[in-house]
């Protein structure tokens, strides 16, 4: 999956390019997984273990750690290969079946 990345926008015409930052989906995934990871690790360390449910494994702790790794992976990936937004984005027609910001009137057949 990581190798499939062709996220850098090719059309980089004029002016200084700016990065997608917060809106880069990899940062959003990384943030959510990271927050979940922290909460689950804390729950695993401080909360009840409930070993009778999990068969003795501290499931919250291990899942939390795994999520932290995933979160860090996405954050690093986004940092190493940032998406550059082209200066002039041609606004295409809105797609009424595909939710997106409604900017123009939906097309009439």
């Amino acid at each position: 999956m990581p190798d499939m990345s062709d996220t850098t926008a090719a059309d980089d015409t004029a002016g200084k390019p700016h990065k997608a930052g917060l809106f880069d989906i990899r940062n959003i995934i990384g943030a959510l997984m990271g927050i979940y990871g922290v909460i689950l690790v804390l729950a695993g360390l401080l909360g009840e273990h409930e070993p009778e449910k999990t068969g003795g494994i501290n499931a919250n702790l291990w899942t939390g750690l795994a999520l932290l790794v995933v979160g860090a992976f996405f954050a690093t990936w986004a940092r190493l290969k940032p998406i550059v937004v082209p200066e002039n984005v041609e606004a295409p027609d809105d797609d009424p079946t595909r939710p997106a910001p409604q900017r123009k009137r939906p097309p009439v057949h």
Binding site: M4, L22, I39, G55, P96, A100, H109
Partner: protein, 571 residues
């Protein structure tokens, strides 16, 4: 926490759910306000990389069907459920990417009916728009029923209150803009679901003593089963082929034919290649090459999803007291519907028994997200087809934009209300998968027949387009009713497979016959719609040849195909 609820969630679980909804609504609000030109760039369509659209593509499908239906199937009939993925999804996804995507991407259609209009004109368009709208309402009912089931399991509310509340939640999600960033949400949802189902599977397997413990327990349960039990023999549950438990055929040969043709060809190709809720994800990618790779990249995770939905279902059937009782022919009380435990409850009950608070919240967030997003997608697809394909084209032409937007809002509310009623139909099915496959047989199988013939045979006429669709759907309904009336006896999802196959054959035969006696469209109008009339450069991406092999469509599809064949031999 009150003890009369199915699942005891604590503040920790609710916190995890709340964080998820905070993210989703936050993205939605930002997308609506378009505060940043970069989010404009991402959401404006045709700008996303293939890995994002590929994940969104399978995530759009990773809702009610996959999670509840497949785990229910796993609990009921075991490993032959894998066919839904390895025979019933991956080959069709590869076909979609390699063969059909260029036509969709190239013709820039926005809905299934619109493609029908371009290819066949008014008749097929009207038929397809109506049947698409009806299908979306029925499938929205499935998602709503499952959503209400979780609300009921969590809070213990009566099921009808849960239905209305769940409907209201979906409405506010649509209104607050959660749908604006649907692709973002779907990708997030994918990670949340995997993050909760993977631990569920591992812990579940650990509890039953690993894979060997699971097979031993299934064998033991099957040997000691009471006469009231309708569960298939252990050997059938533990091998994917020949899958008699799935198809309902007694003969292994017929069973394999039924699975390969009924499920593998007609139902799955019909579903994956004509279901625009999924196909549209590919339309948001940045090039024809990325659009073609979208379903192919999606095929890789799709191959492994069955391990985290079917196996928990199987574990549930040997670990959870109520499920053991149900499989043994009993009728345990409780369950998400409040009217007795059903196979649909397999996953929820396993979550209750093995997930500690914390992970439980993660799992609830994932399930709620999947069903809500699924229903919202159905409703918005209905809304579009109703307002523009039906209302504007056939009832009130040439009104202002505001007028159609108002109609659209009314349609959204109306569809949600109707879904509360169609949810009742869905709840009448013990295993929701049976119901969904029946619906796909009615709507997708004839549509696929018409699509595939229309794409490859330029002689196919506009009249044949609508005649085939109508006759195909009617014949599938006839087969289904005959099965319900007891004319023939097929358990499992065999009736749905048969109905779909009959619909496909009837549609193809009638379309050919009608085409031979009616007048085709002139070839000049078929460019981009019919294979032989579309020049090669319209179908391929000139930049693709320069990419390394692992970014090209065909090598990727080849690897996926080889992997799925290997998996079929392994199980």
């Amino acid at each position: 926490m009150s003890s009369d609820t199915l699942i005891d969630a604590t503040w920790l679980d609710y916190l995890l759910v709340a964080i998820y909804f905070g993210f989703v609504l936050g993205i939605g609000v930002m997308a609506r306000r378009s505060v940043s030109d970069s989010i404009d760039f991402f959401l404006s369509g045709r700008s996303l990389p293939a890995w994002v659209t590929g994940l969104a593509f399978i995530s759009a499908n990773l809702g009610a069907v996959e999670i509840m239906g497949m785990s229910a199937n796993g609990a009921e009939i075991g490993l032959s459920t894998f066919h839904y993925f390895w025979v019933g999804a991956v080959p069709a996804m590869l076909f979609l990417g390699v063969v059909m995507m260029p036509f969709y991407y190239g013709s820039k259609v926005r809905s299934v009916p619109e493609f029908m209009f371009k290819r066949f004109g008014t008749g097929a368009h009207l038929v397809n728009a109506i049947s698409f709208a009806v299908a979306q309402l029925l499938i929205a009912g499935v998602n709503l029923a499952l959503l209400a089931g979780i609300v009921h399991a969590l809070l213990g509310w009566p099921i009808w209150v849960a239905l209305i509340v769940a409907g209201a939640v979906v409405l506010s999600y649509i209104t607050l803009g959660g749908l604006s960033a649907a692709i973002y949400n779907e990708v997030l949802q994918f990670f949340v679901i995997v993050a909760s189902l993977l631990p569920l599977t591992l812990i579940g397997l650990h509890r039953v003593g690993g894979w060997n413990g699971l097979t031993d327990k299934i064998t033991a349960a099957s040997e000691s089963a009471s006469s009231a039990s309708e569960a298939p023999a252990a050997a059938q549950q533990l091998n994917a082929w020949p899958g008699e438990a799935l198809s309902g055929f007694d003969s292994p040969v017929l069973s394999v034919v039924g699975i390969v043709f009924g499920l593998g060809f007609v139902l799955s190709f019909g579903y994956w290649t004509t279901n625009f809720v999924e196909v549209q994800r590919a339309m948001a990618s940045d090039s024809i090459s990325a659009a073609r790779k979208t379903p192919i990249i999606g095929a890789f995770p799709k191959m492994f999803i069955p391990f985290i939905v079917i196996i928990p279902g199987m574990v549930s059937a040997v670990l959870v007291t109520e499920m053991i009782d149900l499989k043994n022919g009993g009728t345990p009380a409780g369950g998400a519907s409040g009217e007795g435990v059903a196979y649909n409850d397999a996953l929820l009950l396993l979550m209750r028994d093995v997930l500690p608070n914390g992970l439980l919240g993660l799992a609830i967030a994932g399930l709620l997200a999947a069903f809500m997003a699924g229903m919202a997608a159905n409703i918005s697809a209905f809304n579009t087809v109703f307002s523009y394909d039906l209302w504007q084209r056939y009832i009130r032409k040439d009104h202002s934009d505001d007028y159609y937007l108002r109609i659209g809002r009314l349609a959204t509310v109306g569809a949600t209300v109707i879904a509360i009623f169609t949810a009742q139909i869905a709840m009448g099915y013990d295993n929701v998968m049976n119901y969904l496959q029946t619906l796909f047989g009615f709507f997708n199988a004839p549509l696929f027949a018409t699509f595939i013939l229309g794409m490859f045979w330029k002689r196919m006429t506009p009249t044949a387009g609508w005649v085939g669709l109508v006759a195909g759907t009617l014949s599938a309904i006839a087969v289904d009713r005959a099965g319900a009336a007891g004319v023939f006896e097929l358990s499992g999802q065999g009736t749905a497979f048969l109905a779909a196959s009959v619909a496909f054959v009837v549609d193809i035969v009638l379309s050919i016959v009608v085409s031979l006696v009616t007048k085709p469209k002139p070839a000049s109008e078929l460019r981009g719609l019919v294979y032989s009339e579309t020049p090669r450069e319209d179908r391929t991406d000139p930049n693709e040849a320069a990419m390394p092999w692992y970014q090209r469509t065909l090598p990727l599809a080849g690897i996926a195909l080889a992997m799925v064949i290997a998996l079929n031999f392994a199980f």
